[in-house]
Amino acid sequence: MEIMGLPLIYYGAMILKVLLAFVFVLLTVAYATYAERKIIGHMQVRIGPNRTGPMGLLQPIADGIKLFFKEEIIPAQASKFAFVLAPLVALIPAFISFAVIPFGDTFEIAGYKVPLQIAAYADQAGKVFDLNIGVLYILAMASLGVYGIVLAGWSSNSKYSLLGGLRASAQMISYELAAGLAIVCVFMVSESLSLQQIVSDQGGLFGWYIFRTPFTFVAGIIFFICSLAEINRTPFDLPEAETELVSGFCTEYSSMKYAMFFMAEYANMVTVCAVTTTLFLGGWHGPLPPVLNFIAKVYILMFVCMWVRATYPRYRYDQLMKLGWKVFLPTTLFLIVGNAFWITLFQK
């Protein structure tokens, strides 16, 4: 039986691929919380969770169950619709960005190629098609996520939440620009916006875009820092700065709504690390089987995120804006110009 000239088993493989990728992200999100607590715990001469299950491995599940059974509190003064909507708006973009990321090479089923990228297919000749503006899609989804936080801060009708929401919006706007410009350096080398093509161009030891030119090297670092700022990780965790704003935008949230923000934060971390891997660190290329390469690189980057959190204090609101507008933005503009000269002079 065939649908649109393709066997049914092909569709089955496509669905299985989507499911596996989604489960992988969900599991990583759950266990990133555990890993963060363990890693930071050991960095801070603590043990971390070790009571629930062997080595505390069931901790994320216990946390999930606990949050699920907590009372849902919606403040009387809150704008109810926006209050309920906000966690969804934060969580969904965090997950769907993953749709365009190629996490492995293609595999063959019934004579057809199946690319390991959710939003991609191969035609009968084996040519892989994916979203040809994948990078733009990621940028769009990343900026959607901020609406969740702003909405949460505004709809809670609490002063601390409002300040948290304000900080989040200001922060994301300032860093998106620099992150976007840093990616331009990648386009100049790849000459494509398709992530599939960006990854396939990065084979070989020094094929990774971060090693292509000195300018992409700096751009890669700036992109990663901007990403940290965009997903509100330390040292840019101002919107929820515990010691200043109690919990920032999610002060009034409880139960599963809080859990959704929590998941969104970690899902964003996975996505951002995956995007950095794809754009700068060669995607699934490397010595191991392709999927494992990809996972290893993402996990190493996530470890760096946690490491940074254990080491650095928090920026102040205005200092963070200054860093974004006065340091990163001019630097990335310079990088684009420099990169253009470099490519024309040495690589053409």
Binding site: Q44, R46, L163, T243, P313, R314, R316, Q319
Partner: protein, 390 residues
């Protein structure tokens, strides 16, 4: 015409970074602070009034509940005031042990300050490192007095007991290891760009303003005023030890941070000198009217038991008069003003709490800055609410 509207935010008494139960009502213009009004009294236990109904010895345990992060320093000020009132001379060994324990207390208090200050600014790891080191001081506390925080170790005329066997070894370990730990903290903070950006130029208060507000301790020295009671009005034998008094220049949070860090290093040096100075001898003055009898007398002779009972229940009468004794506590000058009417209880005990006076400068230091700066200022003032409210 554009109208400016401010937002009133209630910060505390259950806010994570108000160090206990401080409550600040802040007027905010965006993130800029227009006005700060501290509301205190959530931890008021009436220690000054309570002590009027207790004998001089019974009032002593109340004092370590004031600045609960530096109990022995509080005890020291109180016993020195009572001794001054009575004219008691304390044996040399007791004095030296008092210096060692008071400086250990300074380390303990400053470690909590650094921990909380760093945590407020977001450096989580330093917090736990400091608490790890503080534990070592706490262990000595526990071995000395049986309590980790409310020590009540000193007595009028000396100490409640001589130090335990192995005390010298424990203290020597602190002398040997702590400077290395201080280097770790400096490595994590002093050279950290974000830490510098957050602390340099934050919470500036000029020397004149600091003196006008009555600020004392490291907060005053951070503003460049060279004033330390241990050196300028020595007590308990501090004149015998040589130590530097660090002074800041830029009057900001970073300078106060540096001052406290140097102070911790100097405290280690004082402890080391005092430990070398520790000679065997009695730890309680030979004054039966005032001091408790030795424990073997209490357990083995009826006279000793009666003596103990009399001191414990009735206490001793202090001559009529009034004294003031200030000591350099980790947080500033802690002063005890005692008025005696000739009975066995203080007629009036007035405490000059450093945290309370230092807190009064908060508006001057944080006005016009951002909320994040206010948190840093609360940290750098190093306040303890137990002492502010008493």
């Amino acid at each position: 015409m554009a109208q400016k509207e401010t937002m009133t935010v209630n910060m505390g008494p259950q806010h994570p970074s108000t160090h206990g139960v401080l409550r600040l009502v802040i007027e905010l213009d965006g993130e800029i602070i227009d006005k700060i009004t501290p509301h205190i009294g959530y931890l008021h236990r009436g220690i000054e009034k309570l002590s009027e109904h207790r004998t001089y010895h019974q009032a002593l345990p109340l004092t370590d509940r004031m600045d609960y992060l530096a109990p022995m320093s509080n005890n020291l000020g109180y016993v020195l005031a009572v001794e001054k009132l009575l004219g008691v001379e304390v044996p040399e060994r007791a004095k030296t042990v008092r210096v060692i324990t008071a400086e250990l207390t300074r380390l303990k208090s400053h470690l909590v300050w650094l921990a909380c200050h760093a945590l407020d600014i977001g450096a989580m790891t330093v917090f736990l490192y400091c608490f790890r080191e503080r534990e070592k001081v706490m262990e000595i506390y526990e071995k000395l007095s049986g309590a980790r925080m409310t020590s009540n170790y000193y007595r009028v005329g000396g100490l409640s007991a001589d130090v335990y066997a192995g005390f010298e070894k424990d203290v020597q370990e602190i002398i040997d290891t702590f400077p290395g730990f201080f280097d770790t903290y400096e490595g994590l903070l002093t050279k950290n760009t974000i830490w510098l950006q957050r602390t340099v130029g934050n919470g500036v208060i000029s020397a004149e303003d600091a003196i006008d507000a009555g600020i004392t301790g490291p907060a005053l020295r951070g503003s460049g005023v060279d004033w330390d009671l241990r050196r300028d009005n020595p007590y308990s034998g501090y004149e015998k030890y040589s130590f530097k008094v660090p002074v800041g220049e830029k009057c900001d949070t970073f300078d106060r941070y540096k001052v406290r860090l140097v102070e911790m290093r100097e405290a280690v040096k004082i402890i080391s000198q005092a430990l070398n100075d520790l000679k065997p001898g009695p730890v309680l003055a030979d004054l039966p009217q005032v001091c408790y009898p030795p424990k073997e007398n209490v357990y083995n002779s009826i006279e000793g038991l009666i003596h103990h009972f009399k001191i414990a229940s009735e206490g001793f009468a202090a001559p009529e008069g009034e004294v003031y004794q200030g000591v350099e506590n980790p947080k500033g000058e802690l002063g005890y003003y005692l008025v005696s009417d000739g009975s066995n209880k203080p007629y009036r005990m007035r405490v000059r709490p450093p945290s309370f006076v230092n807190l009064s400068a908060i508006e001057k230091m944080a006005k016009g800055s951002m909320i994040a700066d206010l948190v840093a200022v609360i940290g750098t003032l190093d306040i303890v609410l137990g002492e502010i409210d008493r």
